[in-house]
Amino acid sequence: MSSKRMVKRFSAAVRVSHWLYAASFITLAVTGYLQFGSALDWMIPLFGSLEGAMVVHRVAAVFLIIAVVLPLLMRPREVSAWLNEVFNFSRADADFLKAFPAKFVGVKKEIPPQGFYNGGEKINSLIQIICGAGLIISGLFLWLSAAPPTIMYPLHALLMAIGVASAIGHIYLALLNPISNEAIGGMISGEISEQYMKENHGRWYEQVYKKRV
């Protein structure tokens, strides 16, 4: 096999903000869950006490907000391209979802050519954008208001549950699923192989090479 030709996928600023968001999100999910359920109560000593966990929750919240603001300021064009793609759900994206259950359990299946983001990534993006925005707004109310509107409590819990459930799927697909975990390279080194690009993002491949020709 010849050495793989690599394609640039994500800029450094986007990657840094993704991982900053990921680390804060997981910290927030764990510390927040301590108030939500009791399955993670054994982790309380990590934070000293439940009060300590609540302090960590707020510090992590600041980092999460930074992770949102940073790419908006540094790479507004990349962010708006992402938003344009995500809020533009096409026929091909819907067809991707039909093949998704097979891909989810690691079976390769023909998919219609996908753009820079495939249908599944778009849905995860949508969920994370909506939940993230809602969590930040409701969280700021709960943090800063002396008497927050009481709807903020159930709203914060609901968006957390949806966001975490979706993030679990996202983490699995990126790290553990043998047919899609190559994509993690795009978020670590910023590059993926041209082979993977051709197989999984056919429309993006065409766009890139048509331009060049």
């Binding site: 359920g37 439940l50 009060e51 819990a157 459930a165 799927g169």
Partner: protein
Amino acid sequence: MSRMARLIDITRCTACRGCQVSCKRWNQLAGEIGAFTGSYQSHDDLSPGRWTMIKFYEEKKPGGEMAWHFRKATCMHCADAGCLKACPNEALVREENGTIRRIEENCIGCGHCVQFCPFDIPKVDEVAQKMKKCTFCYDRISNGREPACAKTCVPRAIVYGTWDEMAALADERLAQAQKLYPDSRIYGRDELGGLGVIYILPDTPAKYGLPEDPSLPFTLGLWKDVVHPFGKGLIGASLAATGLAFIISRRNAMKLKESAKLEEGGYDDEQQKNG
């Protein structure tokens, strides 16, 4: 032990504030000098170190005449307690005798109880990070004594006994009160499943800073009874689905590897055997 309650007969109360003092004394709460409130009221509100107080309400009647209302404010130890439901860390429990008791080491001072109390009773000590409120003198009443405020009350405006006794006594007191105050009414016997404090009010609850029909916000039920079970189910389902998919995908990957190996001429050990 059956549910205990206090009957607070506002028609007999003289606003002497003896209960305020005896509460401080029994619970060893330091005195606090407050700013002048503009009325006879001693302080603005309850505080982490002030679990009961007489609140004064001035009313200007249409004729220009002044009417003066006052009420002993304290935790009601509700049957349907919003604070207890809102608490994320089981720091509040309902004792057999009806006390909504706070467990010091579980309380983190998050203040969720404050937002869901219809009577604005819990106060958070921001330094100690603990919520503080009336304990119903749990130490006294579980040893067969009456709460400090009831013991000290000179006009017997605060009476302590079982909830059923107090509910019955309320009728008796109401009959007496109505001779002097025709608009008298019982408050707290039917509200929120029956409060641990039953008031005899000389007039409408609004004049005493009490909600006419206290209820818990629907967001509390939405939060604890709908969102929490749904969220736990959703996260659990997501974990189960990815866990299962992980196992299946690994097996599929192994199968592919196996067939690839066989195409290449068998497993390592077979190849060694053959050549």
